[in-house]
Amino acid sequence: MTATDYAAACLFILGGIFFFAGTAGLLRFPDVYTRLHALTKADNVGLGLIVAGLVLQAESWLVAGKLLLIWLLVLFAGACVAHLVARRALRKGIRIWTE
Amino acid sequence: MTNAFLYAFAGIGLFVLGLHALVVHAHVLRKILAVNVMGSGVFLVLVALARRSGEATSDPVPHAMVITGIVVAVSATALALALMLKLAGKSGEAVLPGKHND
């Protein structure tokens, strides 16, 4: 294993921690809005770290570019979908959790 | 004995779960879901058995069949859903006639 491999492994583990925390939040948080918060953190940062790790190990710039593109698309779609879910929940009259 | 067999047995499990739900549930939408799960089970068995040659190459023929099967499954699902809506429009509920006696 070279230095880049170690760096990539660190990024993967860090990303995995974010996914773990996001999943725990999704399961344990009290209402839909806080769950969305947890979920989007995992998607954005967790996936970002894993993509960063994969970019370090990528064979060519083309592959790295495709990986970055995937991350950007997930960011965009994730933000829009989180907004749509929250909007629908508000319309349905689901109250925001306060203690 | 390789990992492929693990997936083949999972496929059989899915098929049986789907068959059980198909028989047991009265609501047509649940029956449609059940048939889809059964189909996934069959696909899983096919592709898992194509993987028996080990790491190198899988058998591409079952792969091609499963891709065809996935597209056929979605069109059949659409037709089934349209039939279900028609049934619900006629009878007021999406349950097969004579299926629920309450």
Binding site: - | N3, L29, P60, V61, I70, V71
Partner: protein
């Protein structure tokens, strides 16, 4: 190295059990909406299983169709069912006596019979799989031996569009039949349309060109890497679904012959080429080796258009009751 092998086994076992658990939950949850959402999650896990089984072509098709389009169809049909029967079918209120639970006809005898039948079929299928040789290359050697004459280097595409292209021919006809079947079921009240969210509009506006680019890429790359007509067609079909969800409706003029042409072009091209090869080569869909690559690309492009149009129009018909009556437009 043992550690890695153990991890792989553990991952596969967790994935297999996860699939079974999700399927069980999806099929037996009390809420229909929940059931469909769980089914979509099941489709995503299936895509992961395909990757583990070295079947990237199948994984792409599953992610786009199994998880995406089927889920959209099911949710649209559920929404329609709820407005039609004018009650919250998805909730527990649908059949007060036994909402999610088995049909009441289940006397002890018939339940016992069912369990017997299911265990017998499990045992039978399990034995059938168990007794297979644990090493087999199947037809992969034959495919590899003839790959050079197929015109493409992705074996799955070679099977789909050269060695067994009659499968794909029949598949195009199945898609056409599904549309005809859905169209012939008219007389349903159209679904009242809700104004879509602005975010959805922005999303579809931004994503449509990206999706078209991705579909073209998948189609092109299918010749020598995972991808091809089915994956491209389903991505393009999903673009159509996204546009329909954000309130776009095709013009009446577009719904006439352009739509019909798009729906039939795939099957038509296959049939024409089949007849042509039957005349010239004395064999159905046997392309001349020198032309095979180009013919496959042509067929795949036309099939992509047909698959995309079919999937989008199936969604439109199921979600809003839009039907194509003798060229007259229903509503605008």
């Amino acid at each position: 190295m043992d550690g890695i092998i153990f991890l792989q086994w553990a991952f596969d076992a967790v994935l297999g059990l996860g699939l079974l658990w999700l399927a069980w939950r999806a099929l037996n949850s009390s809420d229909l909406f929940k059931a469909i959402v769980l089914f979509i999650a099941f489709g995503l896990l299936m895509a992961l299983a395909w990757v583990r089984l070295n079947a990237s072509d199948v994984a792409l098709a599953e992610a786009a169709i199994g998880a995406g389009l089927t889920g959209a169809l099911l949710l649209a049909a559920l929404a329609r069912l709820e407005t039609m029967t004018d009650q919250n079918v998805s909730g527990v209120s649908a059949h007060p006596a036994h909402p999610p639970s088995p049909t009441p006809a289940g006397s002890r005898f018939s339940r016992g019979l069912l369990i017997l039948l299911l265990s017998a079929s499990t045992a039978g299928m399990g034995y059938a799989v168990w007794s297979l040789p644990s090493y087999s290359t199947g037809l992969s050697m034959d495919v590899a031996a003839h790959l050079d004459s197929s015109g493409v280097s992705n074996p799955v595409t070679a099977v789909l569009l050269n060695f067994r292209s009659y499968d794909t021919l029949l598949e195009m006809i199945v898609l056409l039949l599904a549309v005809l079947g859905v169209w012939s079921l008219d007389g349903l009240p159209p679904q009242p349309e809700k104004p879509p969210a602005t975010v959805l509009e922005t999303l579809s506006r931004f994503l449509t060109p990206v999706f078209i680019l991705v579909a073209a890429y998948l189609l092109w790359v299918g010749a020598d890497a995972p991808g091809g007509a089915f994956q491209a067609g389903s991505v393009l079909g999903a673009t159509g679904v996204l546009l329909l969800l954000s309130g776009w409706r095709p013009r009446a003029r577009l719904m006439q012959w352009p739509l019909r042409l798009a729906l039939t072009t795939g099957a038509g091209a296959f049939i024409l080429l089949g007849l042509l090869t039957l005349l010239l080569e004395k064999q159905l869909l046997a392309y001349p080796v020198a032309q095979a690559g180009r013919m496959i690309l042509l067929l795949e492009s036309l099939a992509t258009v047909s698959i995309a149009a079919t999937l989008a129009i199936l969604f439109l018909s199921v979600s809003s009751g839009h039907k194509m009556k003798t060229g007259k437009e229903e509503k605008e």
